[in-house]
């Protein structure tokens, strides 16, 4: 059952990246929905739950978007250590803030990799242009999708932490939605 749910989640995240994300750009930058999904998974369940999802989502998104597979995997992989670091710290408003910080850090890493690949492929850009038109609006778009999805998930779960991820009671308390 979990495998089917994981497969469906991967397909949905990849398909959403090439259909939903371009419909809601923020200052021209699209959100990276599979990364948002990984951050949500890390927040609601645990970092361990993202270990299989992240490479599968990276490969699936690369396939539907025509991106380089290896680049996509390396780019998305950053979300796991970012979530792990966030998990070690105490966050003022609950664990969701840590997951959001991890998402922004991983998004920046992934976008910088895409910029480097585009520059190697002949693109001509300035650091200021990358910051103003890719990194900042990209992070804002990711954060907006994360916040919207977190609100929906919070409402669905009745403001309770999910019992499915294997995280202990103490952890679930720390990660509680405010």
């Amino acid at each position: 059952m979990r495998i089917i749910a994981m497969g469906a989640g991967v397909l949905l995240a990849a398909a959403a990246q090439v259909t939903v994300a371009p419909l809601f750009p923020l200052a021209g930058a699209a959100a990276e929905l599979p990364l948002v999904a990984a951050a949500l998974l890390g927040w609601r369940h645990s970092v361990r739950a993202t270990l299989v999802f992240v490479p599968l989502a990276a490969a699936a998104t690369a396939a539907v978007a025509g991106r380089d597979l290896g680049l996509s995997v390396i780019g998305y992989a950053a979300v796991v250590p970012a979530l792990a670091i966030a998990e070690e710290r105490r966050w003022p408003f609950g664990r969701w803030l840590g997951a959001l910080a991890a998402l922004i850090a991983a998004g920046a890493w992934f976008r910088l990799l895409l910029v480097a690949a585009a520059v190697l492929d002949g693109a001509s850009v300035t650091p200021a242009g990358v910051l103003a038109h890719a990194l900042v609006p990209g992070a804002a778009a990711d954060a907006a999708f994360f916040a919207a999805s977190a609100l929906v998930l919070g409402a669905i779960h009745g403001l309770r932490a999910s019992p499915l991820g294997g995280a202990g009671t103490r952890q679930r308390e720390a990660f509680r939605w405010p």
């Binding site: 090439v18 539907v64 796991v80 001509s124 890719a134």
Partner: protein
């Protein structure tokens, strides 16, 4: 950092996986799986598009109501002017046909072959803008072929062709470079996109003004000459300056285009032998 150390094995696995996938992708081992996966994902993409497109359209309309009203007014005026031009052109065409018939000239555009395609998916991530279309090598599409909008203006180029689908790199992808010409003055330049997807032309010295039409020059052989690309919207600097900033608005609605035409009768000379 203890938590990161816990996942060191996983990161090493990911690095290895990335290397293997990159090599496999370059060799072409994954191509059959790629086509199958796109086929599997297309109904989900279609479903998501059906659900979210109206939502995005409503949000976009609310945010741009004022601009749309102004644009509507402008388009009405433009429409009137174009109607007058159409009437004039009809007269010219009729006269031209008479003259061609008298001289025995054959229409040069008659051998132009186009394949219509629908946009299945779009990736508008950092500096890139590619779309997936529902036509592939089975429909005669090959890498390097030029892609046009339904009205015939330049949209991009096929970068990868699978059996049933193809990937198209649009002209506002920062990796795209198009050899262009200012139609009114004949000055050649190269068109490329900036990080914010605005199109810019690097020109040799010469006269250029807002409102001028940008067409493909055909230099380099990557695109056929004479394809409409866009309109100059802003020029900064004087004709004597070495580097002038010429901003161009594409004729095609690149962010929203849903139907495309692939010019199958043109293959760049650099790829013709493949």
């Amino acid at each position: 950092m203890v938590a990161v150390a816990r996942y060191r094995w996983w990161l090493a696995t990911m690095a290895g996986l990335a290397l293997v996938l990159t090599i496999a992708g370059r060799v072409g081992v994954l191509t059959p799986f790629h086509g199958a996966f796109l086929w599997l994902a297309s109904p989900i993409e279609e479903g998501l598009r059906t659900i979210f497109s109206p939502v995005a359209a409503v949000l976009s309309d609310i945010g741009e109501l004022r601009r749309l009203q102004e644009e509507n007014q402008q388009l009405r005026l433009e429409n009137e002017s174009l109607k007058a031009q159409v009437a004039e052109l009809r007269q010219d065409t009729s006269r031209l046909r008479e003259l061609e018939s008298a001289l025995g000239v054959v229409q040069s555009g008659a051998d132009q072959r186009l394949v219509a395609a629908n946009v299945l998916a779009r990736d508008a991530s950092v500096l890139t803008h590619t779309v997936v279309i529902d036509r592939g090598t089975a429909d005669g599409i090959r890498e390097g072929m030029v892609v046009l909008s339904p009205s015939g203006s330049l949209v991009g180029k096929v970068t990868r062709a699978l059996a049933q689908q193809s990937f198209v790199r649009l002209i506002d992808d920062s990796r795209s470079v198009v050899a262009v010409r200012i139609q009114e003055t004949g000055i050649d330049g190269s068109l490329h996109a900036e990080a914010n997807r605005q199109l810019k032309v690097d020109l040799a010295r010469g006269e250029v003004a807002a409102g001028n039409t940008v067409i493909t020059s055909g230099l380099g052989g990557e695109y056929p000459p004479g394809l409409p690309v866009g309109k100059v919207v802003d020029v900064s600097g004087t004709p004597q300056e070495m580097f002038r900033t010429v901003r161009v608005e594409p004729f095609a609605q690149l962010a929203a285009v849903q139907t495309l035409l692939v010019l199958t009768s043109f293959v760049p000379p650099s790829l013709a032998g493949n």
